[in-house]
């Protein structure tokens, strides 16, 4: 009885494994920002990842994200928004990153990138990455006010406070010097 149960379990596991296995190439793709904050006129790094979870190599893989970042709102600093890989073998992954620079501030909807690949030489597959969603692009000034060093504020503060504080001290010293302490000597 116990042996039968173990045998059944083995069959079930094997069956499940077979059921989830894909005989073809199968690509999962993600798109995610690596920079914590998007700021106008500052670099913003994005990463794309492709994972071939299938059993065969994917051929002629392309990532196309040109529609997400129109050039009137974004400047492409480094990297390509349209890349091509001849082959991604089974069980491997590829990451690709791009540096862009927003030209304006405000809310922006980051949409999905499109990934296309061939499983043999004729079956074209089209898939999408995840969508990072709506993000806020900071104004340069807002960002600086929040994150830039605050030494300037302290400097101005001390400049404002110094005249009365130090000024009164110097005036006191001056007056003190004018009327020095006279030690009375007792002459016998």
């Amino acid at each position: 009885m116990r042996f039968l149960l173990i045998a059944l379990l083995a069959v079930a596991i094997n069956g499940a494994d077979v059921g989830t296995q894909t005989k073809d190439a199968f690509i999962l793709a993600h798109k995610q920002p690596l920079s914590t904050y998007a700021v106008e006129n500052m670099d913003f790094v994005l990463e794309y990842g492709l994972y071939n979870v299938g059993d065969k190599a994917a051929q002629k893989v392309t990532i196309d994200d040109r529609h997400s970042f129109p050039t009137n709102s974004f400047e492409i600093i480094k990297g390509l928004l349209h890349v091509h890989y001849e082959k991604i073998p089974a069980g491997t992954n590829v990451t690709h990153s791009v540096v862009i620079r927003p030209r304006a501030y405000g809310f922006f909807n980051y949409t999905a990138a499109q990934v296309t690949y061939y499983t043999d030489n004729e079956n074209l597959h089209v898939t999408l990455t995840n969508t990072p969603g709506e993000g806020y692009i900071y104004k340069q000034r807002e960002y600086d006010r929040r994150f830039a060093p605050k030494y300037g504020y302290f400097f101005v503060f001390f400049l404002v406070v110094a005249p009365t504080t130090l000024g009164s001290f110097f005036l006191f010293q001056q007056s003190k010097a004018r009327f020095p302490n006279i030690v009375k000597k007792k002459t016998a």
Binding site: G152, Y153, F157, V161, T165, F179, N181, K184
Partner: protein
């Protein structure tokens, strides 16, 4: 009530707690500067927005200015007497040197002038020293609490506690009897 003579007025003023108008004006200007300047720090460093925090800022500025001016006045009263004692001999010597050749002046008149001058010197010196003392004490307590002790508190409470609170502490310390 008989009218006070000039000497009596001088004598009175040298022992009175009230300070000269010039000194009081200086106290209020100083208190105003010291109560408004921290608001700039809270605007810049603790990210308080002008439009959102106008009321809190006004409350803080008024309370701080009042308490600091009070502290300066109290402190001055404490210092003035000490300074009169310290500067006395030097002022006497100055007056004696000044009127050494004036044969017409009586000793009593010279003493009166010396007393008047002592009062004057002690008044200005104690004004300056009390401002310096109050300012440094207030600034160190305020900066220490605003940026170290209460740095993680919500900005509004941080502002009120560290400005008005420090000013209250300074005012309290200035009420010492000796």
């Amino acid at each position: 009530m008989g009218k006070l003579t000039k000497e009596e007025e001088v004598l009175l003023s040298s022992y009175s707690a009230s300070s000269s108008t010039k000194g009081t004006f200086f106290f209020y200007v100083n208190a105003l500067i010291l109560s408004v300047a921290p608001l700039y720090l809270f605007y810049g460093v603790h990210q308080m927005e002008v439009s959102d925090s106008l009321i809190v800022w006004t409350v803080s500025a008024v309370a701080t200015a009042y308490l600091l001016a009070l502290a300066c006045k109290n402190q001055k009263r404490l210092l003035k007497h000490q300074i009169v004692m310290k500067r006395g001999p030097a002022v006497d010597r100055e007056i004696n040197a000044k009127y050494a050749n004036d044969k017409k002046m009586t000793i009593k008149e010279k003493e009166e002038r010396a007393l008047f001058r002592k009062n004057e010197v002690a008044d200005t010196e104690s004004t300056y020293l009390s401002i310096f003392y109050t300012n440094t004490l207030y600034l160190s307590v305020m900066l220490g609490s605003a940026f170290f002790l209460l740095a993680n508190l919500a900005p509004v409470f941080n502002l009120l506690l560290s400005t008005a609170g420090s000013a209250a502490l300074v005012a309290f310390l200035s009420t010492a009897k000796n």
